[in-house]
Subunit: 256 residues, 8 copies
Amino acid sequence: MMTKEELLEMLERMRAGEIAPSQVVEKLSNLPYEDIGFAKIDHHRTLRLGLPEVIYSAGKTADQVSEIFFRMAASGADVMATRADEEAFAAVKARLPQAAYHRAARMITLRQRAQEAPLGSLAVLAAGTSDLPVAEEAAIAAECMGAAVLRIYDVGVAGLHRLLAQREAMQQADVVIVCAGMEGALPSVVGGMVAAPVIAVPTSVGYGAAFGGLAALLGMLNSCSPNITVANIDNGFGAAYVAAMILRRIRMRLTA
Amino acid sequence: MMTKEELLEMLERMRAGEIAPSQVVEKLSNLPYEDIGFAKIDHHRTLRLGLPEVIYSAGKTADQVSEIFFRMAASGADVMATRADEEAFAAVKARLPQAAYHRAARMITLRQRAQEAPLGSLAVLAAGTSDLPVAEEAAIAAECMGAAVLRIYDVGVAGLHRLLAQREAMQQADVVIVCAGMEGALPSVVGGMVAAPVIAVPTSVGYGAAFGGLAALLGMLNSCSPNITVANIDNGFGAAYVAAMILRRIRMRLTA
Amino acid sequence: MMTKEELLEMLERMRAGEIAPSQVVEKLSNLPYEDIGFAKIDHHRTLRLGLPEVIYSAGKTADQVSEIFFRMAASGADVMATRADEEAFAAVKARLPQAAYHRAARMITLRQRAQEAPLGSLAVLAAGTSDLPVAEEAAIAAECMGAAVLRIYDVGVAGLHRLLAQREAMQQADVVIVCAGMEGALPSVVGGMVAAPVIAVPTSVGYGAAFGGLAALLGMLNSCSPNITVANIDNGFGAAYVAAMILRRIRMRLTA
Amino acid sequence: MMTKEELLEMLERMRAGEIAPSQVVEKLSNLPYEDIGFAKIDHHRTLRLGLPEVIYSAGKTADQVSEIFFRMAASGADVMATRADEEAFAAVKARLPQAAYHRAARMITLRQRAQEAPLGSLAVLAAGTSDLPVAEEAAIAAECMGAAVLRIYDVGVAGLHRLLAQREAMQQADVVIVCAGMEGALPSVVGGMVAAPVIAVPTSVGYGAAFGGLAALLGMLNSCSPNITVANIDNGFGAAYVAAMILRRIRMRLTA
Amino acid sequence: MMTKEELLEMLERMRAGEIAPSQVVEKLSNLPYEDIGFAKIDHHRTLRLGLPEVIYSAGKTADQVSEIFFRMAASGADVMATRADEEAFAAVKARLPQAAYHRAARMITLRQRAQEAPLGSLAVLAAGTSDLPVAEEAAIAAECMGAAVLRIYDVGVAGLHRLLAQREAMQQADVVIVCAGMEGALPSVVGGMVAAPVIAVPTSVGYGAAFGGLAALLGMLNSCSPNITVANIDNGFGAAYVAAMILRRIRMRLTA
Amino acid sequence: MMTKEELLEMLERMRAGEIAPSQVVEKLSNLPYEDIGFAKIDHHRTLRLGLPEVIYSAGKTADQVSEIFFRMAASGADVMATRADEEAFAAVKARLPQAAYHRAARMITLRQRAQEAPLGSLAVLAAGTSDLPVAEEAAIAAECMGAAVLRIYDVGVAGLHRLLAQREAMQQADVVIVCAGMEGALPSVVGGMVAAPVIAVPTSVGYGAAFGGLAALLGMLNSCSPNITVANIDNGFGAAYVAAMILRRIRMRLTA
Amino acid sequence: MMTKEELLEMLERMRAGEIAPSQVVEKLSNLPYEDIGFAKIDHHRTLRLGLPEVIYSAGKTADQVSEIFFRMAASGADVMATRADEEAFAAVKARLPQAAYHRAARMITLRQRAQEAPLGSLAVLAAGTSDLPVAEEAAIAAECMGAAVLRIYDVGVAGLHRLLAQREAMQQADVVIVCAGMEGALPSVVGGMVAAPVIAVPTSVGYGAAFGGLAALLGMLNSCSPNITVANIDNGFGAAYVAAMILRRIRMRLTA
Amino acid sequence: MMTKEELLEMLERMRAGEIAPSQVVEKLSNLPYEDIGFAKIDHHRTLRLGLPEVIYSAGKTADQVSEIFFRMAASGADVMATRADEEAFAAVKARLPQAAYHRAARMITLRQRAQEAPLGSLAVLAAGTSDLPVAEEAAIAAECMGAAVLRIYDVGVAGLHRLLAQREAMQQADVVIVCAGMEGALPSVVGGMVAAPVIAVPTSVGYGAAFGGLAALLGMLNSCSPNITVANIDNGFGAAYVAAMILRRIRMRLTA
């Protein structure tokens, strides 16, 4: 790696006649190009964007989660751990008492940075109560990334009146996340009711021919509502991340 | 095969002492069982039920369709041919001028028997215009089997108000058939709006991850509405057949 | 939300000249439509239909099942819980001593309402003894919803004589439910023997290329008997629900 | 259906004492709710949003496309037809000479409304030249909906330098659409280079184990870049629609 | 059910003039036909064929296996239980001390009938040591059904010389069973070396893209050797059963 | 390659003292082993077994089929071509006028060898008329290989009485081939009615979720009848080949 | 883009005091990094490696193939087009008379560069004659890239002696490519016979459950021979490319 | 089996006139050919190639692993056990104290033979930390087989700069192994950066639509980089084995 300082020093030495221009060219040509070009990228992306650090806890021991969490928190960043059980939380809390646990979302969060005004408005919908873990993962993660979140739960398409009763509320949102398992029909119905981008999250809720979320995934990919894109099965965090990206774009333009 | 007459004759001979009872027992024991038991079944099922004869025309030449159609019509039964093109119809019409062609349904029908009062009420819904061939196959077939059919088309879930506008109409029906491709969400929504059995027919409408109707099929099998069962992909005729069975049961009880 | 009383009051004020008709129109137009239109739907569907409340217990703790069960029972409704183990039953029974457990069906039921005469006749068939949990779920649920149920078990197609011996019995039924795993051939054979709608329930019984019920599911969807529709894998309850819907339709017409 | 005029008239009659308030309440309660509530929704969504009308031409004859196109154009809206061949264009052009054909995108467009300033910036990437039809469908559709589109084509991940050379350009975009077939790896790489939402469009490009776009679809759903959501296989139009939704949200806030 | 005795009695009464022949005909016509026709079939098939009774133990408790085993043994038949663990064997042995356990095959057997001379010759091959449980299930079951079994194990195609060394031995067999997991190539190679029917049994041995035996199953179905048919994944018993059927046919003809 | 003559000559030379025994050992050790061991195998298998030569015509031109057919016929063997159209037959017949075409089976056959007494008895069943091409391929091929074939067609499980009427006939057969598409249930039912090995052939007949024969294939692999093995989809020839193998084994023992 | 010359000039100007070192640093930091780092990569990879240019002709018109071919040939490179039909060849030959067509491989080649000594030895095996197009694509492509190719065709595992006869020949090869469809067993057998890397190419040869090459693909991925890796279905060119890579590595070391 | 000594003795007896040459020919012709031809192969392949013996420990008890390990080590060979847990290691270490455990790789190794100079250079890449078990299995196994291994970990495509920083290092390698789960995009990117054969290993890392490594597997098979072949899911050992084969070929030629 060559820092800006080292580069400057080399150029000064060349100007001083200590090394020839051709030597500098040679040296620069053989440098890993990213030594220069990637200076900005070297700042870790999430830090640069002001987003929290994230740990995917599935398959990690409580100690591992705790250790990574602690290390990330040391930088002053907000930190969140997804798919974390209570044992992992206990291990984190032992070192970082201000960390919080969100049981329904299976998440640990630590807010350290000054909170800005909300980014914009996100509605998170869940078709049934079994979809709540995924929906809450989306909601908590989005809040942690600065979004104002409106939760609209238990509005499956078989009981349409409950969904219709929330129509005006959801039409206010800049982005809508819809979590549904089984046949995954909710995003199509919601997509027809709002004029905002809808991020559909298939959940692994269901049995038999639900095939672990495959039925919902295929349903959402084939939605007859055109304003829908799809995240991976059970990927509430990913949906929240994209929603936050969209909201940031809005604020970026507002403040530009 | 042993007819009732032959059986009677044998018993008379036994009464006359010409053959011994044990001989009769022996003979009856060794008969192919169906000689006795299946007398009722020997009457072809569709004839016995008063249902039309049906020809599945896909993969048959116009001449083959025409030939089978003609033979079936000879018995005086109503006849219908599904998946039939205009060429097949021309071949049928040449021999049976009173046959009718239903272009949207790709069906040929011939009504020969006195029409009874309608069996009961069936609503046939289609999500989009591309689902019409399947929906019309269901509607025409059901009418041919005696149902009064209410068509409710182009009521996909992305434009919910059109569907809601038909709520009262569809709530009158004894049975509801719902045809939908793509994500196949319509049956779930309809299922929540009616208190009748819903027969869902996935169609092969769609592209990409629709996989020829698989997405809609899985969606319907996993419906969160409990009053739904599912027919094979594009099987409008099968749905109509089951609907007619249900309607017949109602009338059977009414007239019992 | 606007209650009938509020609406009446508003109209009275208009008649009194306190507000103009156009103001009323404006107000009504902007109301969430469901405030008015969904009055009937606000009555929970199952209550309105006189059907029992249902709890899907899989993935719920004994305490959760017990709590929901108790709350539902408080309304005076019949209640049933599917996929419930004995621990859940113990928790329910502690609060509702009159609740009953059906081990083979893995169901808890509580009958509180006056029992009406049976809705009509339902035959529930199971191909093998391994299919019994699904068949019993169908049978118990259907009985709980008012059907008279005839159980015909262990009549797999490899031993045809046992099935044929039940032919007349099953031909009496208004609706037939057929549960089968492995190759799922039983509905096709039964479908050819009865003149009633057949609801096929694939079970996850089998191994190897049974793929958790997929083989049976595909077999049933492709049945050569036209009077068959299909429920989700292992979904005995869903089949019973549709059967009950059909039987209700029959009685509804009879008493109309 | 009850119009505003009819409603007004009824209220006037009530004020005149011709009918009682309770009668009005009764009548309103029994109205299909959408007669009142859906007035706003009755305006077709695309018109209301100022978006063009769209025709999916696959499976339609040139005459059908032309007929629908003409009817839609009559309302003064912008119109576009996707998956349209040259024969369809000829049929459209015969009636609407100002219609344009975009060969690479297989689209027909007609711009009739005054063009507003671009909505914001969208980058459309394509991995290979075979992905161009899908990418162009996205680009043309997005332009037709008001976006300023930057095309970055032939930047597959096997030749990374071509992609890296476009880094700064694509980092300007508010939204990024990435079209790729085969292994569908491009969105993951692009996702790591931009701080904007990325809409991944798997294409059916490839052979063998590409399985008509399935490999690319699965790859994109499982992307290790968190800022990615996925559209259906070959669904360039859908991606453009969602991108336009996002851009509209930005402008909506800017002008609010 | 009507026994032969009851039938005889009825006929005697007719001869005595107590009942008319037409009454007998009526009665016989309405009998479930199988009461007469299936007398032979009523003898349980396995008993009739002299084959052992079989219990599939997977999913059954040790007590259930023991109970069924005991009941079957009471008839004097040979009995075998597949997929049985040692606990089940202990339970069986407590009641039937002469029962034997075959650990590698996971089978319990009880031989009670006089052993006939072997039916003929069966070769059972296994590709690897992990395929032994399936191969031993086939071998033990076939022996229990009367076959002389030659075991040829650990002859996977990657070490061809071990297989070639057994060529002459396997060419003596009347039937060959080949068990293989992973790519399932062994039956194709063996098929080319023998002039006997080969029954291929895919096993669930393997990992990753073996997909629980699917790779081996597809490989065997597509074998380039024409003398191969395929059993279900891990179905050693089924293969043995078919092999025994073939061997019985040979002896049947020899002794005819 | 070393012929027997060359080997003999070498040994004679050793005996004559021209070469040393150790040289012979060395030479033999380094020979490709198959030079000695495979002499018997070098006789083409089908010729050695007295089976006809077979050409799989799909994907071959009429000229190619004709050329291969002619070359094979030159050896005096019986020859058959499967999946052959009339054009291919015309090309064959031009050179071999005694060749015969079997339209339903899509096969060309040429019998040149003296016909032996039939090998034994094979029953070929087909569920529906659409399964006939596969069933006829099996029947014609088996006849060509020496079997006496009993055809039992159009005996699908939805019309059980037609199948039951053939029970005694099919119980005579040494081997049974059952061809069925759609749900593929026929082999399970037949398997329960006969005490012979059943070879199930799934056909690609069906539509929608039949998935080109996959539904039938899975159904047959999971049959509850234990005497069933399965051939590839539409592989009538393969089933006939295995059946012939079984029948040959019977005769081999009879004549041993 | 900044060339070495421009960089040198800038540095000279800095040395001359015309611009400050900090300006140079700034300029370099903001350069697209690849302007410097990718100089070597800018030489098209295939040219740099001395490999031919390649055109995948499927889905391209004869004119398009011809045009791209001509353009590539202009650089003096060797050029090859895969999946090319005779019409494409005619179009190419019209402009480049020295181009050659390889019918079995469906390839057009043009050799313009001086031929080096062969890279090393590659054996290309094909299981059946239907696999030849893929095998020839591999062979011709590998020859075009400098390999000495030994073709060993029609050595399917059902006729093992033909394969064994080629054992010594194939053991000489540095790399082995094995093309097989149907069950794809050949690579496993070959893998056990050679001590070289084996590249397995599944072909789409087969029918029914071959599923377009999926059965062969899964078989090869699960091979019990450890020296096997797998290319995409029908991807003869890709296998040749990797083989050439391996051979180049050998020569690279030899000449290093 | 006939040993060289027995063969020599037979030939001496022939020379002595005790047996005739024709008797020798007869005897040799009837020998299992491999008795002679396979002498070289009878040396176990891994021993012959100087490769370590390998035990796949999954599904084996600690005692079984220990027993096999001990037996293999007795021959003086290097031994390695893959997928081995610490319990298995403890059992091995009790008998072979010099055995080593590699926790990340889940491997036990025992080096007994004199270590030769490294075979050549292998780079092993892993996309994420979850892919390390597979990558380490590849790395440790390759080292055990004599390769010099360069580990490049945590270089997923979403953080391209980390990968680019390793470009020159990886370009030195003779072979590259790339392990990646989720979308499996890393091999495509790496393939474009090196001029060496790339062996892609899909891992089962991921969730939802990753389907246990299927998404990564399909992605790698469809890579747009032509220098890639693919191993089975999680098969780090297999990739190392092929890499070692390639490196041996290089050294073989160097020392030839």
